[in-house]
């Protein structure tokens, strides 16, 4: 009970200190979601990871410099400037190394990431063996430690996130062009190198302020996951950007709230796991590309294709045998389908009212007759079109038409009829339906 109350208290920002932390990280979540969308659409996700790892030497070097000049070594701004310098250097080094060695991106990123982090660890070793001993806070940049965040930190995060958002809004149109039509952008004089560098700087800014909250290993999740999750809900670019910002903010809010409840729940981990949960939900339930929605659609398509296959086979059997009834075993040789499939299709046909049962024989209903004629007609129209206009041999058109006939729309059929004008209403099949027929 008390747990529930304290949870509610934290989620609703009752406590002043948590309020600061939660609002700060939520701002960060918005900025990360927005910038991450550009990063993901530009296929630069792992570049962000490399840059964030390579920030460690910057942080520690800044600490050493501040220490050497007699500062407390705890100046957050100073450390963040160090991180920003190192991150920018890494972002700059990757294309330079790629051009000068001709190696692939992944190898270059691995080296910059591993080498940069190694340098950071080595510098950290030096910092830790120095007398003075107030370097303990440095490690919080690796794992993130929202609990130690104070009001001033939250203000730094909030202001940076806000500035990043404004910049993103101002040049969002250019980025969008870069993401979707790079060559057009180049043709109208946009400099993609400059824009890419601008994007990297924005990512560096978000990463730098994210270090405090989630740490440099996990900050990349804040950039990638909201954007990837948002993609499952919308095809519209602007909506995707907004949604990514919202997802980032919600995850940061929930994550830092939960982490504030108990001492052994690192905020970075909780935030990332919350994001992962949101991603999983989007992956399954997303309305644009979600797994469920795709499943429903493919089941529907399969049912429609099955019905059309049955109707066409029936029409062909009736045409061959000049009868108006058929039995399941007549249909079986028409396609490579199993007994069970043929039975299932007949059951579906009975349910839909396309066909009627008459003992062991079946016959088409009036509605079924119309539908079967239309399917057969579409198939043969397309076959004729392929033979006349696409130079495909008559022996090959059946298979090709089989793929296409199910998605021929009303307009397309009218077009086909116009192209093939002067043909009889229901065409003869342009190839023998049965050898010797």
């Amino acid at each position: 009970m008390t747990l529930a109350i304290s949870m509610l208290d934290i989620l609703l920002l009752g406590d002043w200190n948590t309020r600061v932390v939660v609002i700060g990280t939520a701002m960060l979540g918005i900025a990360a979601g927005v910038v991450g969308t550009f990063l993901v659409l530009r296929k630069r996700a792992l570049l962000g990871d490399t840059v964030s790892h390579a920030m460690l030497p910057g942080v520690v070097a800044a600490f050493l410099v501040i220490q050497a000049f007699g500062g407390g070594g705890k100046s957050l701004i100073g450390l963040l400037i160090g991180a920003a310098i190192a991150g920018t250097a890494a972002a700059w080094a990757i294309p330079v190394l790629r051009r000068s060695t001709g190696l692939k991106d992944d190898a270059i990123m691995g080296i910059v990431l591993g080498g940069g982090f190694g340098l950071g660890i080595a510098l950290l070793g030096v910092a830790q063996s120095l007398p003075g001993g107030n370097q303990a806070g440095l490690e919080s940049f690796i794992y993130g430690r929202t609990a130690s965040m104070v009001q001033a930190d939250a203000i730094v995060i909030g202001v940076t996130a806000f500035i990043t958002l404004i910049i993103a809004a101002v040049i969002g149109k250019e980025f969008r062009l870069l993401c979707f039509d790079e060559s057009f952008g180049r043709a109208i004089g946009r400099r993609e190198g400059l824009l890419d560098m601008g994007l990297m700087l924005l990512a560096v800014a978000v990463t730098v302020v994210g270090l405090q909250a989630v740490g440099l290993i996990l900050v990349i999740a804040l950039l990638i996951i909201p954007a990837v999750a948002a993609r499952f809900w919308t095809d519209n670019f602007v909506r995707m950007v907004i949604l990514a910002g919202v997802i980032g903010a919600v995850a940061c809010w929930i994550g830092s709230s939960i982490s504030a409840m108990a001492p052994k729940l690192p905020a970075g981990s909780i935030i990332v796991l919350t994001l992962t949960a949101l991603f999983a939900i989007s992956l399954v339930c997303g309305t644009k590309r979600g797994a469920l929605q795709r499943l429903v659609r493919s089941v529907g398509l399969r049912a429609r294709t099955g019905r059309q296959h049955l109707l066409r086979s029936v029409a062909e059997v009736m045409e061959l045998n000049s009868t108006s009834t058929w039995s399941a075993k007549d249909i079986l040789p028409m396609r490579s389908w199993s007994h069970a499939r043929v039975r299932a299709l007949h059951r579906a046909g009975l349910r839909r009212g396309d066909i009627r049962r008459d003992g062991s024989e079946f016959e088409l209903t009036a509605a079924g007759r119309v539908a079967a004629d239309r399917v057969l007609r579409n198939h043969r129209l397309w076959e004729l079109f392929l033979i006349r206009h696409a130079d495909i041999a008559a022996s090959h058109v059946d298979r090709d038409a089989d793929f296409v006939e199910h998605i021929l729309g009303e307009d397309l059929v009218i077009d086909l009829e116009r192209t093939l004008a002067g043909e009889p209403d229901t065409h003869q099949s342009p190839h023998p339906l049965r050898s010797g027929a």
Binding site: V40, K43, R44, A45, L46, G48, D49, L97, S100, T101, G102, L103, K104, D106, A107, I108, M109, G110, I111, L113, G114, G115, F117, G118, L119, G120, I121, A122, L123, L124, G125, V126, S129, L130, E139, I142, Y143, I217, L218, I220, A221, I224, I225, A227, V228, F232, K264, L265, P266, G268, S269, I270, I271, V272, L273, L275, T276, L283, R289, A291
Partner: protein, 434 residues
Amino acid sequence: MTLEYDGWIMVIGVLAAACCAVPGSWLVVRGMGMMGDAISHAVLPGIAIGFLVSGSRSGGWMFVGAAVSGILAAVLTQLVHRWGRVERGAAMGLVFTAFFSLGLLLIVQTADSVDLDANCVLYGAIELAPLDTFALGGLEVPRIVVPLVIVLALNVLASAIFYKEILATSFDPELATAQGFAAKWVHYGLMVLTAATCVACFEAVGSIITVALLVAPAATALLLTRSMKWVIVWSIVLGAIAAVSGHLAAITVPGWIVGGGLDTSSAGMMAVAASVLFLSAAIVSPGRGVLARRWRARRDGQRIAIEDVLGLLFRLEERALSTDQDAVENMLRSDVRIGPKRLSGVLGRIRRGLLARVEEGKWALTEAGRSEARGLVRAHRLWETYLAGRANIPSSHLHSAAERLEHVSDPGIAKDLAAAVGDQDEDPHGRPIP
């Protein structure tokens, strides 16, 4: 610091580097360097769970856990990529951060009761490794050597036995699949090896330094050789060099800079040393280094400039035009490929090479220069004739194309061109082919 202590650290470092070099080479040539990063992060929950189950760092449970979570991460990445149609890099980043945060959470949950902390996983504890030993035939051997040797043997054996399969699937997956090598299983096999390597190495050098040891020596080796076998051998050697020099640097360099016998993390310095080796190779590698390529570009530029000058002199002589020193130099000064800055150097080289000389204020080709120039102009006009006849290039564009091709045409090509052109003795502009 004793010889034995530092010696063992270097042995452990060399073993870890060699361990990483083998799967690392394959990852790099397959363009999957960042998969090493993803797996080295993703093994964390497996390590944590294995550790919780067995309660010790020596058991096989940790290996099993790490291998399972490494593979799981690889499979999930593939699923998110395929099903969710998420770009592969983003899918990778998504899966590994989720795994890593889960592992971090598990470790922090148990941090008070057990002896495994996140720092050790992230950047290793190579300094403590030589202290934890067991007796082997009278010798005190660090315990950590055992898993490293086993995984190294596994990596080398697997690469040797399945060399052909991995090679085929790395460079031409479609062909390999058509020939009956299952590219998918090779992929997952490699992921298993990488996961085993990550878990063997994490205790020594930590999971992120492992990324550097996986990728950097292999990438360096690719700059030095193009044969896959040598890439593997070189990356083992380079990894070993990085490990030894990294440790030596860790115990000396901070002392030089700050003073007072200060030292730092050996694992970190090993990663730095591996990167320094890479940078050095990128600069001085004889085949693909920046310096070598600059030098070749410079040499080619100079040769082309000399050839352009000779060609100009030949054409002037051919049309019996003035080869006045000032006039020629003015013409060359406005030539884009020579320009005023390089002019005197190029002319000096021509004089020293006895290809042309100045007589009474006029340039004149020597016999050697004339024969070279004739070859060049011949190649140029043959190309123009050929391109006009065979490639349907409009006559206004012939010159610039031939201008480039003439410099890369050896006598063999000229002979082939002459055969292709037939018995024409004039180029499309009506000039004789010499």
